[in-house]
């Protein structure tokens, strides 16, 4: 890991009122790599990525992008950097079709009229470039799609915008075996196309199937950021459940190894 990370946060703190949810968190994500973010329920994974996406403002800490300090004060700032988050609670509009969803908020117009034909072409191209063949028509309403297809559309929406970093919050949580495999394949392809991908997941099989690096959160603290090939399944599980595993993880005084 010699090159600079695409995105890096250092010493990030975040509280909701008296509750400190994130404590001095360091985190980095690299272009062309899948970084898995793991941790128990309530460890602060979603909170961390919402800070990255500008949904939550951070209390203190540094936010570096491309090695340069940046200030992110809202989703628009994050979007301007090319950071996009696909939320756990699937942010799609059921009554809109695939094209309308993919372009939501960034519609193409010709004059004052929406240019639906161009949007349809671009949406189809993006899906094709991701080798998505599971949807019949890009004019299908999202309500008629399966969970996996919806997730695919949500991911494709993030990709459409030449984003540089895409965060996926539990994209496979509600999916069956076959659909999970499809989404993971898609995740891998995003990284192979040069994007930095952050994948939140509770499923260790998924994590080890696609991740290059693994970052483990324990009660709001980052206990390890390691290469996926350097650790075993059980070490990660230990990190998740107790915050440490052998040499890895939090010391007694709370410092990171």
């Amino acid at each position: 890991m010699t090159d600079t990370p695409l995105l890096e946060v250092r010493g990030l703190n975040k509280s909701f009122g008296p509750v400190q949810v994130l404590r001095d968190v360091d985190f980095s994500a690299y272009a062309g790599q899948v970084t898995a973010l793991v941790g128990d329920n309530g460890a602060g994974k979603s909170t961390l990525v919402k800070c990255l996406g500008g949904i939550y403002s951070i209390d203190s800490g540094e936010y570096l992008f491309d090695g340069k300090p940046v200030s992110v004060h809202g989703p628009r700032d994050a979007a301007a950097l090319g950071v996009d988050i696909v939320y756990q609670d699937l942010a799609l509009c059921d009554n809109l079709d695939i094209v309308q969803n993919m372009f939501l908020g960034r519609e193409i117009k010709s004059g004052i009229v929406l240019d639906d034909i161009t949007m349809e072409q671009k949406a189809a191209e993006t899906l094709a470039s991701l080798s998505v063949r599971t949807v019949q028509s890009v004019r299908q309403h999202v309500s008629s799609l399966s969970g996996g297809q919806r997730q695919t559309v949500a991911i494709a929406k993030a990709v459409l915008w030449n984003n540089r970093l895409v965060v996926l919050d539990e994209p496979t949580a509600a999916l069956g075996v076959a659909q999970t495999a499809q989404v993971l394949e898609l995740v891998r392809r995003l990284a192979d196309n040069g994007l930095a991908v952050v994948l939140i997941s509770h499923n260790m099989n998924d994590v080890f199937a696609v991740a290059d690096r693994i970052a483990a959160l324990f009660l709001g603290q980052m206990c390890a950021q390691v290469s996926a090939t350097d650790v075993t399944h059980s070490q990660i599980v230990e990190l998740i459940t107790s915050g440490r595993s052998g040499d890895l993880g939090l010391r007694q005084n709370g410092a990171t190894a």
Binding site: Y87, A91, C93, N95, L96, L104, L114, V138, S144
Partner: protein, 322 residues
């Protein structure tokens, strides 16, 4: 990835076709039930009635598609009519200025509704219920509860009543309704306001997360509805060559009924202008037909009410089916 199957659109038009079929059935029924029904002068009367409710319904379609509701359109329309009288008779403005002023006043009412809903976060039902009462009261206060006549502007009534086609009875007001229908249809289906009305009605949080300024677009949507209210108010005043300060309550329900009968979902996210127009015609034909067949007034609202219930029920069944 072919673009051939368009299930969503086909599904959407089923309810419209159903509404259209009902309209034709009702027309046929009343034509047999009363010799007075299918006469040119009665049909023109229906169109005139459909024009005012229909224009209100066009604007309300935007609000309902976005998941909101606007109860202030009936009394708001009356207030806009009164303002036409204030501008043209009290203040002596030229007719064109009075008309534009009243339409913009309607826009202001809508803007205030939008502000209360999107900036202050009041539930649309409550916000517009308040506005309904405010507008109703203001109409009475401003006019001193008396009608305002357009003495200086005898031609003002032509805006609604002028016969566009020489020799045939086709009022200008109805033509205006047709033009507005086309405008509303284009805006709802082909522009950004329309797209965001659908997306906000479908999933407001997702729309906001996609970077859409939901507050601003809700303001815009309610303002659009208000402009339609202004236009309806002007035409209603023109139709009677006077601004009537009393009434308007219940008109909003007729307009909302038209929207719902036309297949627009009260939950938001689904609807069409074509459906709304058919819905407005159904309401106008029913009301008129019941009158010419001498059904007692009391029973008329019972029938219209039942039609609304059926329309909402059909909408619900359809949603369950997919």
């Amino acid at each position: 990835m072919t673009a051939i199957p368009i299930p969503a659109r086909v599904r959407g038009s089923v309810q419209q076709l159903l509404a259209l079929a009902s309209l034709i059935a009702i027309l046929v029924f009343f034509s047999f039930a009363s010799p007075y029904f299918f006469t040119p002068s009665n049909l023109v009367g229906i169109l005139m009635a459909a024009t005012v409710t229909g224009i209100l319904a066009l604007g309300t379609t935007f609000v309902i598609v976005s998941g909101g509701i606007d109860l202030s359109i009936g009394t708001g329309m009356i207030l806009c009519g009164v303002m036409t009288g204030v501008f043209m008779t009290y203040w002596g403005w030229p007719a064109w200025a009075g008309v534009i002023g009243a339409i913009l006043f309607g826009g202001l009412i809508g803007f205030i509704n939008g502000f209360n809903v999107s900036v202050l976060g009041l539930p649309p039902f409550i916000a517009t219920l308040g506005m309904m009462l405010v507008a109703s009261g203001l109409s009475l206060v401003i006019s001193g509860t008396k009608p305002i006549y357009f003495k200086e502007h005898p031609d003002f009534q032509l805006l609604m009543n002028y016969d566009v086609i020489p020799g045939a009875r086709f009022p200008l007001g109805v033509l205006i309704f047709l033009v507005l229908t086309v405008v509303a249809a284009v805006v709802l289906s082909k522009t950004i306001v329309g797209r965001y009305a659908f997306s906000i009605g479908s999933n407001e949080a997702a729309t906001a997360l996609s970077g859409v300024n939901v507050v601003r677009w809700k303001l815009t949507i309610y303002t659009i509805a208000g402009l339609f209210v202004g236009i309806a108010g002007v035409l209603a005043a023109s139709r009677l060559s006077s601004a009537q300060p009393v009434g308007g309550m219940g008109l909003e329900l007729e307009a909302i009924a038209a929207v719902v009968i036309g297949g627009t979902s009260l939950q938001g996210g689904r609807g069409s202008i074509a459906g709304t127009v058919v819905g407005a015609l159904i309401v106008a034909v029913l009301t008129n037909g019941l009158r010419v067949t001498a059904v007692p007034q009391e029973w008329q609202s019972v029938v219209v009410g039942c039609v609304i219930l059926v329309a909402v029920y059909v909408d619900m069944l359809r949603r369950k089916a997919n």
